[in-house]
């Protein structure tokens, strides 16, 4: 082994230079691809994103007009998803940080399940949505209540599917926030005579609210862009109105883009619309993720 850099023979120094450069190149390449992608969307789609584009219904078989129902459908979807998923995720995170003995088999199984859930391909969640939510629960509810509206794809079942899909995102984010709450606070609360539950509700959770918010935002960002999981669970390519009940089908920005760019007979005709839709979808998820990253880095500094 060499004793100092200067006494190293030239070939070795060249290798060293090369070794650093190649790592730098990789980082630059990844950043370049990201910038190139965003740049191409902004330059091609920037002009298409106007107020009328955002506020109008699509016309003429999706070849003209705007994306309002898709935007509204996506918003309703992620709202419902948040209502269904975030409480469960938060409760799980509270369990993992506050109650669980870290080595107990139950805590370890929960952790393993969360990690596994994060790795399951989203298309499998789509199949799960069909098999469990629509076929089993939906038809079950229909048979029970004598209705016929639950046994088909709908906003409700899509939101439920996405809630399961985004569960790990919420859990990981909230858990991180709960762990960032200083131990002193907990101990002070307990020393004052508060019970464990009082400590959690009045001390730990209020201190972790930003974390729960981060988790929700990240989940919304993930859910807004997810298409594969809802493909057969209630999304539709064309709709006359904004859904007014949870059992209705809905339009979705990501699916709209997918349909415009691959399923329509004349793809080139709608290219400007596709770019504009992409820009809106990307902008939406980008803003959500950026907010979450900023909140998180502030949290880490604390």
């Amino acid at each position: 082994m060499q004793t100092s850099t200067s006494s190293m023979p030239l070939p070795k120094r060249l290798i060293g230079f090369f070794a650093v450069t190649i790592a730098l190149t990789a980082a630059v390449a990844v950043l370049g691809i990201i910038l190139g992608m965003v740049g191409s969307f902004v330059s091609n789609g920037g002009g298409g994103v106007t107020w009328t584009f955002l506020s109008e219904f699509p016309r003429n078989n999706n070849t003209e007009g705007g994306i309002w129902p898709a935007l509204a459908g996506t918003t309703l979807l992620v709202l419902l998803m948040t209502i269904l998923g975030v409480p469960v995720g938060t409760a799980t995170a509270i369990y993992l940080t506050e109650f669980a003995k870290q080595d107990s088999w139950f805590a370890r199984s929960v952790r393993f399940a969360v990690n596994t859930l994060a790795g399951v391909p989203s298309i499998v969640f789509g199949l799960f949505g069909v098999g469990f939510f629509i076929q089993f629960m939906g038809n079950g509810i229909d048979g029970w209540l004598g209705t016929s509206s639950f046994g088909d794809g709908s906003l409700l079942w899509s939101a439920a599917t996405l809630a399961v899909l985004t569960l790990p995102v919420v859990i990981v984010a909230v858990e991180e926030a709960l762990r960032a709450v200083p131990r002193d606070l907990r101990e002070a609360s307990l020393a004052l005579g508060a019970t464990r539950w009082q400590t959690i509700v009045k001390v730990v959770v209020p201190n972790a609210v930003t974390g729960i918010l981060t988790g929700s935002i990240l989940a919304v960002g993930r859910g807004a862009g997810e298409v594969a999981a809802i493909l057969f669970v209630g999304v539709t390519y064309s709709s006359e109105s904004i859904p007014s009940a949870v059992t209705e089908k809905f339009m979705h920005l990501g699916y709209h883009l997918f349909v415009l760019s691959t399923q329509s007979p004349d793809v080139d005709l709608t290219l400007p619309l596709q770019y504009a839709t992409t820009l809106v979808l990307l902008g939406l998820t980008f803003l959500l993720n950026l907010t979450a990253i900023l909140i998180r880095s502030r949290l880490r500094k604390r």
Binding site: V20, V30, S40, G151
Partner: protein, 401 residues
Amino acid sequence: MSNPFKQTRKRPGEWIMEWSIRLVASASIVMIFLILLFVMREAATLFVSAEATTEATSTPSAGSNMEPESYNPDAPADAAASEPDVYNPEAEDPTTTQQQGEPGAPGQFIYASKNPKYPEIYNPDTGLLPEDIDVVAEDQAEVDTSRKTSVLSKLTGDQWQPVGDVPKFGVKPLLIGTLKTTTIAILIGAPLGILAALYVAFFAKRRVREVVKPAIELLAGFPSVVIGFFCLVTVASFIQDITGAPYRLNAVVGGIGLALAVIPIVFSIAEDALSAVPKTLREASLALGSTEWQTAYRVMLPAAAPGVFAAVLLGIGRAFGETMIAIMATGNAPLSSFSPLEPARTVAATIGSEMGEVVWGSEHYGVLFFMGVLLFVFSFGLNAVTELYVKKRLIKKFQGQ
């Protein structure tokens, strides 16, 4: 964190709340089981009914329709009556899957003909239309037996042609397509992700790191349709200009798209693993006189090897399970060709593009769900390996053998 709450007073209300939190926490475990159970349940029609057919032919009466225990007995009749073209889950029950029994009997399978393009999909051998089934139910059952028992041999065939007079469900071209695109994605994505992680973890200055790291993490938040669209309109033309490939959309374009999805995963896990290497190792190496790059490549990278390996495994999991990019950018043709410049069709993309048009409850439907089970089992296995094996090795390594 050890539990600081060991001996505290309990109140009944709080006790209930704490246990309900415990109960909710098991939701993730329950979901894993439910996913496996219900995806398998839909796929099971393929296999279970082969035996059930013989059983049912011997006792072909409507009275033999046994109701599964968990269900409201009224459900099948109601569902069948009120909504004839929704697939009835009651029909899952082996004895009710068959088409005999009096027309309209409870639990009888209702053949949906949602898609007029292939109404005969359930009876390719006889070409019967769904409406005719009740009339010739007895013959039908026998034809079905011979057809259903060969499901396994059908799945191992060489061709994927799910729509046609004689549907072919050979998954080989799909497996080849998945292998092809996943390999390309990992060959591009893994080195880029790992090297970028190495740069960020060791060579970059702090201020650079604080920009590069979140930027790459933002890529993880890109919706996969957006990446797919980018490949469809930009990367595809670019690749065709360079290589002169005969097909605009091919496995390379798809592989690049999947690599874009893989890079942020590999990057962030590898970066975590590299930063977790104890500082003492680095300092010892530098103190012995080795340079920064020697330390990085010969000390830190090997030390973090299990974590980097885990990163690649999870990257593979993402690549083969990714659906939208695969549908949009690979060309989606089920060819048994290993050439990277020819189109490919992955398993996930097949489910994604065909599930919407399939008749719910048909054989094709069962095959698609069966492939879903395969995807689930494979991703579960990958995750189990990273969780149980890799992490243990990592811990052992850093705590010193």
